[in-house]
């Protein structure tokens, strides 16, 4: 559709875009990225025909762009301006109708039924139909942007050029606009070429991305390849982190702010453990990065309050999450800052241990009840009914863990727990075999993310060794306490 070869150009003889070559296929959503001053807008101006270039060629449908008259060009390329300020008031419909300019010909440029039909249809598609007689100056930024989108679409273009279309738009309009454009590329074969500042939006919606650096091509590829951590860090000269989008296979980048000066260092140990007969609480001065399977705050996140709550053996509630949320609120906790677990065991039977070695320290808290221990290899013989009697394991790491270390720590802790059950000969009451855990075990790995980076948490790594030592000791102790109490 669009073929750019060795394009060089700029203002007043100084080239801003240098020797750029790429091509855009029909029906593609094509994103142009680059830091400020990298020549994105200049490139767009040259493609849209309002800026002459010094060298190279821009071909549209295999025809050089210079050979098109303004009207011919406007029938192929439409541009959605970044923002448009007009000094005089026009109605929405008058504004959209201007999009038909290029299609009208003759001395009197009469308004044909086809023009009317297209204007009505694009106004409907962009959802501006119901205020077609309003003055555009009285519209909000988002509404106005849709009016200009309708104007551009009224040109019936094959290529739509956009310069940061989501600028000035709130979240829902950003999504709406890009969803509409994406749909048009799929359904009508419209080619969309857009400048993006927001790498995440670009990664989410574009089929192809072009990354510019100092007016030159850095890379033109699929989003996942273009949005590589090292590449974006180098081009934008800033610290970012790449992660996966939770729902769709698209890369997402997050900024890493410089550490704040008011951030205080802290260590999690027994001194901040608070226990009542009803709950065990640890609150940290700053949120910790967590990976957990609690009732509240499960998955990964950042939390500063950790609560292990005792509920009666008869606790039964259809919506235990909501009940837990209310409980936390009533007791002065903010549920979104909490990782909350439940247990039926007596909280006096908890066991905790702080150990430190080679500058690395962890604090482990375990409550254990094994009344309903299960052999995981034979769990198919159990029904779904969840019964109280749970091993809750908390591991607080004073260090900065990688995601890998989080997952390995969890494996290490689980393996150790299973080994404890074997060594203590805890048996599955249903199958009579050695148990590996209970049906409702929960685990929390929390890291201060301060200090030296801990890359691994496997069993033979320094962190793994600490975890295995502490978890083994705490779990054995907690089960012993539990058994003592049950025997009495």
């Amino acid at each position: 559709m669009l073929n750019v070869q060795n394009l060089t150009g700029g203002y007043g003889g100084v080239p801003i875009v240098k020797d750029l070559t790429f091509q855009v296929n029909k029906g593609e959503m094509f994103g142009i990225l680059g830091p400020n001053g990298s020549g994105k807008t200049t490139l767009l101006k040259m493609i849209s025909g309002i800026l002459a270039f010094q060298k190279g060629t821009v071909n549209i449908a295999d025809q050089p762009i210079q050979t098109f008259s303004p009207k011919e060009l406007a029938k192929i390329i439409a541009v959605l301006p970044q923002h448009s300020n007009q000094s005089f008031s026009y109605t929405v419909k008058e504004t959209v109708a201007l999009g038909r300019y290029a299609h009208q010909s003759g001395w009197f440029q009469t308004w044909s039924p086809k023009d009317e039909e297209i204007v009505q249809s694009v106004m409907k598609q962009t959802g501006i139909h119901h205020f077609h007689s309003k003055d555009i100056q009285s519209l909000s930024g988002g509404e106005r942007q849709r009016v200009f989108l309708a104007q551009a679409l009224a040109q019936e273009p094959q290529i739509l050029l956009l310069d940061e279309p989501t600028n000035h738009l709130d979240l829902s309009f950003q999504k709406e606009l890009l969803d509409v454009l994406k749909a048009w590329t799929r359904e009508k074969g419209l080619t969309v070429i857009s400048i993006f500042h927001d790498l995440n939006l670009a990664g989410l919606y574009c089929d192809q991305l072009l990354l510019m650096e100092d007016g030159k091509l850095n890379i033109h590829h699929k989003p996942n390849e273009v949005l590589r951590e090292e590449r974006v860090q180098a081009v934008y000269q800033t610290k970012i982190k790449k992660q996966a989008h939770p729902r769709v296979p698209a890369p997402q980048m997050v900024l890493l702010p410089e550490q704040q000066e008011d951030q205080q260092n802290f260590t999690v140990n027994a001194s901040i453990l608070k226990r009542t007969s009803e709950r065990i609480v640890i609150q940290t001065p700053q949120p910790m990065k967590t990976l957990s399977s609690g009732v509240i705050g499960s998955g990964t996140g950042w939390h500063d309050s950790f609560i292990n709550r005792r509920v009666g053996l008869d606790y039964d509630c259809n919506d235990h999450r909501e009940e837990m949320r209310l409980y936390l609120k009533e007791n002065g906790f903010e549920p979104s800052d909490c990782v909350g677990m439940m247990t039926a065991v007596n909280l006096d039977d908890l066991s905790h241990l702080f150990i430190e070695r080679d500058g690395c320290s962890i604090f482990v808290v375990v409550t254990a009840g094994v009344g309903h221990a299960i052999d995981a290899s034979k769990s198919s013989q159990h029904d779904m009914h969840l019964q109280p009697g749970t091993i809750n394991t908390w591991i607080f790491v004073n260090g900065s863990m990688t995601e890998e270390a989080f997952i390995q720590s969890m494996m290490t802790a689980t393996e150790v727990k299973t080994k404890v059950l074997h060594d203590l000969e805890v048996r599955d009451p249903v199958t009579g075999t050695l148990a590996t855990g209970t049906g409702t075990d929960s685990i929390l790995i929390a890291s201060t993310q301060q200090g030296e980076e801990i890359e691994f948490g496997g069993t033979i790594t320094p962190l793994g060794k600490l975890i295995s030592q502490a978890v083994y000791k705490c779990t054995s102790e907690a089960i012993a306490h539990y058994r003592n109490r049950m025997d009495i």
Binding site: G49, I50, P70, V79, Y90, E94
Partner: protein, 353 residues
Amino acid sequence: MQNRSIRKRLANNRLLAYACSILFLLISMVLGISIGSVHVPISSIIRIVGHEIFPFISLAQVDSMHLNIVLNVRLPRVILASLVGASLAIAGAAFQGLLRNPLADPYTLGVSSGASVGAVVTLFFQISIPFVGAFTLPLLSIVSSFLTIVLVLGFARKIEKSMRVETIILTGIIFGSFLSAVISLMIALTGDELRQIIGWLLGSVSMRGWVYIKIILPFLIIGAGILLFNARELNAMSFGEERAHHLGVDVQRRKLSVLTAGSILTGAAVAVSGTIGFVGLVIPHLTRLLWGSDHKHLLPLSILTGSGFLILADLVARTIISPTELPIGVITALIGAPVFALILMKSRLERSG
């Protein structure tokens, strides 16, 4: 709120807009012809004008003095005022749209200063070109206004090939200031002609006769024709030059034709009547407020409103402290400014309320 919905309905009703504007022009004309030191009854006016168009209408009942006053004094005066008002108003509307600047008027580009220099030079040096005689002044005035616009546009093009409107406005201001200084210089140096020069500069449509109408009319027809032909392009260009380009407008060519046409209109108007201010600035705004910004209608409606307004302004100028005549430029601003202020205030209040 109610006012607003009324305005909406009016804006949708183009027919009503034209009907109101034409009625306003007709009433202004009749008043302009009828009122004066000698009162001419409206029935006589209708007969006289009717007779000119359809000779079979009898003039038997018309006073011959009335006939003389209407045909040789008032009618040409009213028509000249209306043509000048029309030229300035449509040129102003086009310039505001093209330059995307509500403060633009026909005089922004310095054309009026150019025309004035021609006129003042004629008065200052008492120039009289053979065969042209009394019409030396309008002729030199038009010639110098054309020279000015050619210089302004040529200079703007030299500064920047794409001739952005900002550049054109600045160039216009530079030339305008320079030419105004030349006029001031001549005023400072002149002796006997001072009153004549000042009087011309303040503007007047009195005692010009039918010849002046013949001078301005062709320019009005050509200029207004070009502007009306570019109405849709003006709509597009009032969203910005880049926007217009993207919509398919040949910006460079259209810009030049609008600027040239507007300057022709302005130059001719200034040549026949002096620099009458305010009409070109305010009438387009007023029309826009009342009937909307679409140039397809804004331009013709500005013509009608501008004509009527200048006829009324001239009527006030010659009657308010009769027999002394005030300069019409003074009156346009004296009436126009408060009226415009009121309308502006009302529309802004509506918008915010």
